[in-house]
Structure formats: C-alpha cells, structure tokens
C-alpha cells in the first residue's frame, strides 16, 4: 500500500469523526478543536481505536500532549510523521 499523505490521513480522520458524531463530513473542519466538535471521552477513545486499526499507531500510550490532539489537522500531521 502506498504511504498516505497528511492530506489523505486528514480526509480519513474527518470521515471517521463524521461517522462517530453522526454528521456530514462537510460539517467537520480540520482546524476546529475536537472538544468543540462535540467529541467526548468515549468518542475520542473510538477515534483512537480507529487510528490504531487503520494506521497501526497506539496513541493512547504515546504520551502526546493535548496540543498534538487538539485538531484533526495536527493529528493527521503527527500520524503522517509516525507512519
């Protein structure tokens, strides 16, 4: 499989967050902080599980700061660097 670009990863994450929140993906901005999108503890863990299954990265134990997680754009950049 070709390595995904940060933009592809961002698109994948937006799609997943839209599924978790039950909204259209156009309603999700990659630069909006996750907590203002309506993500809570459970939906955030769902997202972390999705990242582990899709990108083989176990972020729950990674010691990332909240700044790394704060937006889907930042998260996609991190995943891209790690992949």
């Amino acid at each position: 499989m070709n390595k995904m670009t940060a933009a592809d990863i961002e698109k994948t994450l937006i799609q997943e967050v839209a599924t978790i929140l039950g909204v259209d993906s156009s309603a999700i901005s990659p630069n909006t902080p996750l907590h203002t999108l309506g993500i809570d503890s459970f939906s955030f863990v769902e997202l972390l599980v999705f990242i582990e299954k899709t990108f083989n990265l176990k972020l729950i134990e990674s010691g990332l700061t909240k700044e790394d997680f704060q937006t889907l754009h930042l998260l996609a950049s991190y995943i891209s660097r790690m992949n």
Partner: protein
C-alpha cells in the same frame, strides 16, 4: 400502534421490576431544572397537556407480541391520561436542603397507574423555581428526557424499531463474548455494601454543583493527569477513591470493584430524533481494590479498560446479546442477572453524561440556572455516582438507598469528592 423493545429496554424493564419488588417504587429518574423567577403553573399545565397529547407514547405500557418479542403498546390519542403537575410552595428563604428534601419526596413517589410514566413537580422557593421531571426509565433515558424538554410542537421523532428476530448467529456470538466477560468479572465476589431488608426504603441524594471556572479547572486537571478529553475516566477514578475508604472501613473482604458504566449509543445529532426509550449500553469495568490506593494506577487501569472494551466493541455486543434475553420474563431475568456476581450486580453504578441535550438557556421564558439529574439506582447495588454538565457547569449527584450508608459515611464521601473536585493536589 406498537414499538418493539430492544434488549437494553428489556434490561431496564427488569431493573424496574426488581426496584418495585424491593421498594415499591420502580426504576425512576428525575431531571431537575433550576429556574430564575416563578414559572407560571397554569401556563405550564396548559402547555404540557397540549404538548404531551402529541406524544401518546408517554402513556403506553409493555406487552408481549404473538412472536414473543416484547413491545410498547401505544394507545390512541383519545385514550391519553392527563399530565400530572404537583406544586409545592416553600418559604421565600428556603435553603437548598429544603428544596432537596422536596425533590427526594418526588422521586420516591410511585406512579399512580401502569400507564403513568411521566410526572412534573413544580417547587417554588422564593425567587427561584425548580421543575422536576420525574419519568420512568422504561420511557426514556436521561438524555432522552432532556431532549424531550427541548422539543417543540412540530418536532418529528422516530418511534420505529424492528422486532430483531433475525441474525441469530450474530446475537449468539455476541452473547458468547459477553458471557466470557462476565465469567472473567465474576472470579471474585465484588466489593459491595449490604442492603437492609425494609420494603419502604427510599433513595436519598447529595448534589455537588460546580461553576464554570471550577469545571474548567477539573477538565484541565483531567487533561493533565489522564489525557485530552479524558474527563470520564477521571470522574470515575475520583468516585472510586471517594468510596474506597468507606468500603475499607466496613471491612469488605472482596478484592474487586465491579462498575457498570452506562454510555449513550446515539450521536449528539440523533438524540433529538431518538428521544423515547433507551439508547444506551455499558462498559463493565473491574478495578482491583488495591489499585484504588494509587490514583495514577487507578486512572491508568480505567483508561486502558475503556480503550480495550471499545476496541472489542463490548457495548455493541451487550446491545446484541441482550436481544436474546427478551425471551425471559422479568422475574426470571432479574434472578439471572444476579447469578454471575454471586447475588450482586455491581459495587456501585456510575455514569458521565456530557453536555445536556437541553440546549436552550431558557425554559418557558425563564432563565435556567442549572440542570441536574436524580436517578433511583438499580438494587443491588443501591448506590450510584452520576456526573452531568449544563452549559459548561458540572454536577455530581450521589444517589443512595436508605440504610446503605451511615450519615458520617455519606458526609465523608461528599467531602472527599468536593476536595478532589476543588483540584487540591493529593496525589500519592
């Protein structure tokens, strides 16, 4: 008209049955709106009568279909019961403890008939009024009740649910996985507090309400100690720690806390369409009592278990497996639910409901100061800690059955929670 009940609905019906048998009052729940000024009773009554008539589902009752699937019978609109509002006038300078006493009376009062599932209590206390919406958990869950108050006359809701009498293999596979989890949890008898046997026991409540500044500080502490958006594991950890010393002082010999954590299975968008019935599932967490001695170990254990259970979709498996349990009559299922954990169901119940589904800052023209929840808890365990948030302000409610805690014990739990919530640094 009928609406089939899901497996989770049937579990809630079973808890309702058990609670009625134990105390004469079912598995009721109360959502309380604290309002600025005096809400007009006549306007409220008229408005509610008109509004509730639009939703005959509120006067339904459960029955069993020819295919054996349980369903909620919805009667025609001309057979609706009128909505009930009870009014209480307290002194102008009534303290919150007096208001709480009145609220406790409301939540401990049984419904007047098998078709009554919703009652309103209006309490006037000086310049403030409290509207308590008492409902049968069989009719809706807590977020559903909040969303119900948010609806208007034109609101369209979904009441359809299939009988779920297909995909049996999938349900049995899920049942197998849930059973394995229960076997794993039941290796040791769970920590629990003994219940007394009087039949007229009522539930008591303690409420800790925080302002926006305090809530922000707690969220920040949770971020720093557990991680981004990890308020729920933090809330559960401080609840366990607050109860731990009481359990230890009682000399409980068991080694594990078993805590069912309820979660909403609807997305934030769907809560306004799926208002009625129960749209929830559970995590089943086991925390070793010795883990509660170290806060960081406790936090890590909870966080990891939530992650692992989401990864294997335990809440989804419970939803599927519980569909199989609908065949069991309520007394039988009530008996079966106590079997794996040697007569217990849990050490205590816990839920963290995020921001309220009631989104408006006003109710019938009156500013809302706060919304908090007062649930009766399944018996056993007869004890629960519940977190909810309204407009960025956190509430913590402890619900406990008569006789389960001594006065000094509940005082120490409240003190411990208050201290931790005030973000005092007490890390071991």
């Amino acid at each position: 008209m009928k609406r089939y009940l899901t497996g989770i609905d049937w579990i809630i019906h079973t808890i309702n049955h058990i609670n009625k048998k134990e105390t004469g009052v079912g598995n009721m729940f109360q959502v309380v709106l604290q309002l600025e000024g005096q809400l007009d009773e006549t306007t409220l009554q008229k408005s509610l009568n008109k509004f509730i008539k639009k939703f005959p589902v509120v006067n339904g009752r459960s029955m069993r279909d020819y295919n054996l699937a349980p369903y909620w019978k919805i009667y025609p609109k001309n057979k609706m019961l009128s909505s009930s509002i009870r009014t209480y006038r307290l002194d102008n300078n009534a303290t919150f403890s007096k208001v709480l006493f009145t609220l406790e009376q409301g939540i401990n009062m049984p419904f007047s008939s098998i078709r009554e599932h919703l009652v309103f209590h209006l309490i006037y206390a000086g310049k403030t009024s409290f509207l308590a919406v008492v409902f049968d958990h069989c009719l809706f869950d807590a977020r559903g009740a909040e969303a119900f108050l948010n609806m208007d006359y034109s609101h369209r809701i979904s009441l359809t649910e299939p009988a779920h009498l297909c995909k049996w293999k999938e349900k049995f596979e899920a049942g197998k996985r849930v059973n394995r989890k229960l076997v794993q949890l039941s290796k040791n008898r769970p920590m629990s507090l003994p219940l007394n046997s009087a039949s007229d026991r009522k539930f008591n409540f303690k409420i800790i309400s925080l302002d926006k500044r305090q809530t922000s500080a707690i969220i920040e502490t949770a971020y720093n100690k557990v991680g981004y958006l990890m308020l729920m594991p933090y809330a559960l950890a401080i609840s366990i720690r607050a109860l731990h010393s009481v359990f230890l002082k009682r000399g409980t010999h068991a080694s594990d806390y078993i805590i069912p954590v309820s979660i909403d299975t609807r997305s934030a968008e769907k809560v306004h369409q799926e208002v009625f019935f129960n749209h929830m599932s559970f995590f089943l967490l086991r925390v070793k009592a010795k883990e509660a001695d170290s806060f960081s170990v406790l936090l890590q254990s909870i966080k990891q278990q939530v992650y692992d259970q989401i990864k294997v979709d335990l809440p989804g498996d419970i939803e599927k497996a519980s569909l199989l349990m609908r065949i069991a009559p309520l007394p039988v299922l009530g008996y079966l639910m106590r079997l794996p954990l040697k007569g217990q169901i849990a050490s205590f119940c816990f839920s963290y409901i995020g921001e309220a589904a009631y989104t408006s800052p006003v109710f019938m023209g009156k500013k809302i100061h706060n919304i908090f929840h007062m649930p009766r808890v399944p018996i056993p365990p007869g004890l629960g800690i519940f977190f909810n948030r309204f407009q960025g302000k956190l509430n913590v409610v402890i619900s406990y059955l008569d006789g389960i805690l001594e006065k000094e014990e509940i005082d120490s739990i409240v003190q411990e929670l208050t201290l931790t919530l005030s973000c005092e640094e007490r890390e071991k």
